[in-house]
């Protein structure tokens, strides 16, 4: 049986590191070319579902979800709210622009959702958030450009979709 090139890298990235694969990476290309193979490979070997979108991919499992996901949602939620409040073009800002950690920190500090952040141990203060940013970077949700600037990778769309779905299902409930 022949495995695709980069097979080990693909498995390592998705399974071991639990990170997002992004368009432009060699592993993503391999995944794209052997999509059927990898879909069944991950289901049969590890019981996980490969989620493949136009510009990002990751593994999803119903059994074990990382608590990190909640931290990301809270962070994204507060950040989106603050960006919008400051009059930024939300989608444009997240998809195409760079952000500064200083600026983000400032926004989070004065946010009306501070209580929520303080109740989340990984986001409660600047020091723990620095750690959190590193984890975001490790999962390829953000890309650090230098010490102070970063930008979101296409993986952030996964969380925006999540928010959209909440809004839609709430709306349906109301109707």
């Amino acid at each position: 049986m022949q495995y695709p090139d980069n097979h080990q890298e693909v498995v390592n990235a998705l399974l071991v590191d639990g990170r997002f694969l992004l368009e432009g990476e060699a592993e993503f290309m391999t995944l794209k070319q052997h999509l059927d193979f990898y879909e069944s490979f991950f289901v049969h070997s590890f019981g996980t579902n490969l989620q493949f979108f136009g510009d990002y991919a990751f593994l999803q499992s119903d059994r074990d979800t990382d608590p990190f996901s909640r931290d990301v949602c809270i962070f994204m939620g507060v950040l989106c709210y603050e960006l919008d409040r400051e009059g930024y073009n939300l989608i444009e800002q997240l998809s195409f622009h760079t952000l500064e950690f200083d600026q983000v920190e400032q926004m989070l500090e004065i946010s009306s959702f501070r209580e929520v952040m303080e109740a989340t141990s990984n986001l409660q203060d600047t020091a723990s958030r620095r750690n959190f940013y590193n984890r975001l970077q490790r999962r390829h949700i953000i890309e650090k450009l230098d010490d102070n600037t970063f930008r979101f990778t296409p993986a952030h769309k996964y969380f925006l979709e999540f928010a959209k779905n909440i809004a839609r299902s709430r709306k349906e409930e109301e109707e």
Binding site: D17, Q60, I91, A119, A163, K164, I166, R170
Partner: protein, 417 residues
Amino acid sequence: MILKADPDKVLRFLEDNFELLSALYRVQLEHNLILQEQFDEMMASKANVVARRLFDYKLITAQANGFRLNEPVRSFMGFLLNEFKPLLPEELKKYYGGFNGLYERIRESSDGDILILAERLDAIYMEVQQFLENVESNTGQLLRASQHLKANKADYAYSERIRRARHLIEYYIEPLNRILDVQKENSIANLLNTVSSFVNIQRFQHPHTGIRTRFARLHELLRDVDRQVLRQSHIITRELLPLIERLQTESEILTGWLYFLERPLLNEVPPMPARRKFSITGSNIGASLHLFLQQFERRPKEIVFNEAETKSINRQHLYFDRKRYQKQLQAALPVSNYFSWCLDIMHQYEQMPDTERFLKISSLVFENGEQYEMVFSDERIELEMEDAVFDLPVIELKARSTSVAESSINSDHAVSR
């Protein structure tokens, strides 16, 4: 209609009372009618003569339950202020019937009566011109309405913004897009295209010169319309629709997050892969190590080490024990290579050996020169310090005859006493 004044006088009145007329226009734009109370309120601070002239000059007409600006005045004010209500696409659709009817008639009568053909051509020219103006002001107003919605987000709640955005898309922008879409069979743009190709042939074929000129003029206009419609259609697809859609998705995202943040620790979250550690030397060890080391990377930069400062401070505290070196030198005699002996002895006794210290030690021999006998050889030696390299002669040092040395030591004692 009898005007009770010269036209230029009316215009001057309009200029003098422009603010009043703009206010009237805006009220009518909003409510379709100027109610008696509203009218009275606006006229309260004006002289009676102003109100009378408004009616005398037929700028305003009385209606059953209020007043209206006369139609030509209304459209003129609209043009001046560039404020309209966007036309419902149904209103624009009436042009389809108009164009189609006139086009059919023109086709039928193109070989018949010259007079009626000329009149019909003039009519269609006017209609097309009007249509174009309407479309332009319409897209302009829609763009403005969307931008207003986007810019004044604080004024509307999220749900209200979505509702307004949907309303604009559903009832104005998409239908307008259908009207302007050349690809669609029943669109006005498509009909105008057909008319244009007919006119293009007629402007050469028709036997009558006057008619040919009219066809040519119409053709020019239709070509212009084609360009304009394309531009308006671009504004719609490139600016309006994305703008409105973005407004809608943004609002959706924010509404979603707000729902989520109401109960952030209880709501479900999207599944995300956990990291799996298979072995101690997994591929993430490298990354983690890098991360771990990263926190030290910046340390040296943060602690500023000022060399000049530290040195001068230490120098003050370090005492140069001349006597000790003198004794050492005496004990070591004869020395075969004086300078390298200096270097060795410095490294032996000094906590912070440096060039200056070395120079001090090597000057010992010159202080009590009469005690020593120096033999210079031709050889040279290179000694390396931290900040300099010395190229020095090899000197052999011996003690001079004892009597001379003793007498000099005695004389030293004499001086010190």
